[in-house]
């Protein structure tokens, strides 16, 4: 829940500071640095867990299959929308 609050706090701060481009440059650095560190730490906490490491091929396979299932589900459910949205060509 805290994540949601902070997320919208960011949206509000960004909206207020719309004119100051430095804020966006700063947030870009903030997000990429924290993202790199977080993924590194996620990797470390997984590598540190021997049970998960021995399951790595299964995890990879599951990731792949869930990707296909979710993508396919989304693609199939948008098909009826072609009836609502008029076709526009280039």
């Amino acid at each position: 829940m805290i994540v949601i609050v902070i997320f919208f706090l960011g949206v509000i701060v960004g909206t207020i500071c719309k004119r100051y481009h430095k804020v966006f440059a700063f947030s870009e650095i903030l997000t990429s640095v924290s993202l790199y560190l977080l993924l590194l730490f996620l990797g470390i906490s997984i590598g540190d867990n021997s049970e998960i490491v021995s399951n790595m091929t299964q995890i990879g396979l599951k990731g792949f299959l869930f990707a296909i299932a979710a993508s396919l589900g989304s693609i199939l459910l948008i098909l009826p929308l072609y009836l609502i949205f008029p076709k526009k060509d280039k």
């Binding site: 994540v3 960004g14 977080l38 590194l40 996620l42 998960i52 990707a67 299932a69 979710a70 459910l77």
Partner: protein, 200 residues
């Protein structure tokens, strides 16, 4: 694609550091990660606020535009739940969590990790990166068989940035606007949905 592979590489380096126990024990990774996640979502919030013109897009295109992210979200959740039926070790909650990533691999996997589910978090990371990469590679094929919205659907949240290039390339400008709108909407839905799934 280069960016997602770079991020995947950082993750893999982390895994090896973890396996080799190279990490200094005085670092409390869990605690640091919690605060880093707050910094990350704060920055993401600022970045999203920058994608103005959303209101303009809704005005010119009609509210029915929301049907696209709505159906994409429902489809992902449904697809994941069906896949989860084949795995006795993945509960309904985690199936929903995996589907709720909507291609937003960094935020979804890091949030799931923060709830303490490391293995599901790793699956979410890989699964959502695969969504991005497969969209980049298969976009022309998808459009041929499932129409101009299909790469937007398979990409999910990344349809506003990393996969937007191929979507523009193989469809048209009108579709690109829809794609961006969809990406921003899904990026807001992902943290809401994952919080909802894991806290309620």
């Amino acid at each position: 694609m280069a960016n997602s592979l770079k991020l995947l590489l950082i993750f893999v380096v982390g895994v090896f550091v973890g396996i080799l126990c190279l990490c200094p024990p005085f670092l409390n990774i869990e605690k640091i990660s919690e605060y880093l996640l707050y910094l990350l979502v704060f920055g993401i919030g600022i970045t999203i606020s920058r994608s103005e013109g959303i209101l303009k897009i809704i005005k010119t295109h009609h509210l029915k535009l929301f049907l696209l992210p709505l159906m994409i979200t429902l489809g992902s959740l449904l697809g994941s739940v069906v896949m989860g039926l084949f795995y006795s070790d993945i509960s309904l909650k985690h199936s929903l969590g995996l589907g709720a990533g909507l291609g937003y691999y960094s935020l979804s996997s890091l949030m799931i990790s923060q709830y303490g589910f490391k293995e599901i978090s790793a699956i979410a990371l890989i699964s959502n990166i695969v969504r991005e990469i497969s969209t980049l590679i298969l976009a022309p094929v998808m459009i041929k068989y499932f129409g101009r919205f299909s790469p937007i659907a398979s990409a999910g949240a990344t349809s506003m940035d990393t996969t937007l290039a191929v979507i523009i390339k193989y469809t048209n400008k009108e579709n690109a606007v829809i794609s961006m709108f969809n990406g921003v909407t899904l990026s807001i839905i992902v943290p809401l949905l994952i919080t909802f799934i894991y806290e309620f």
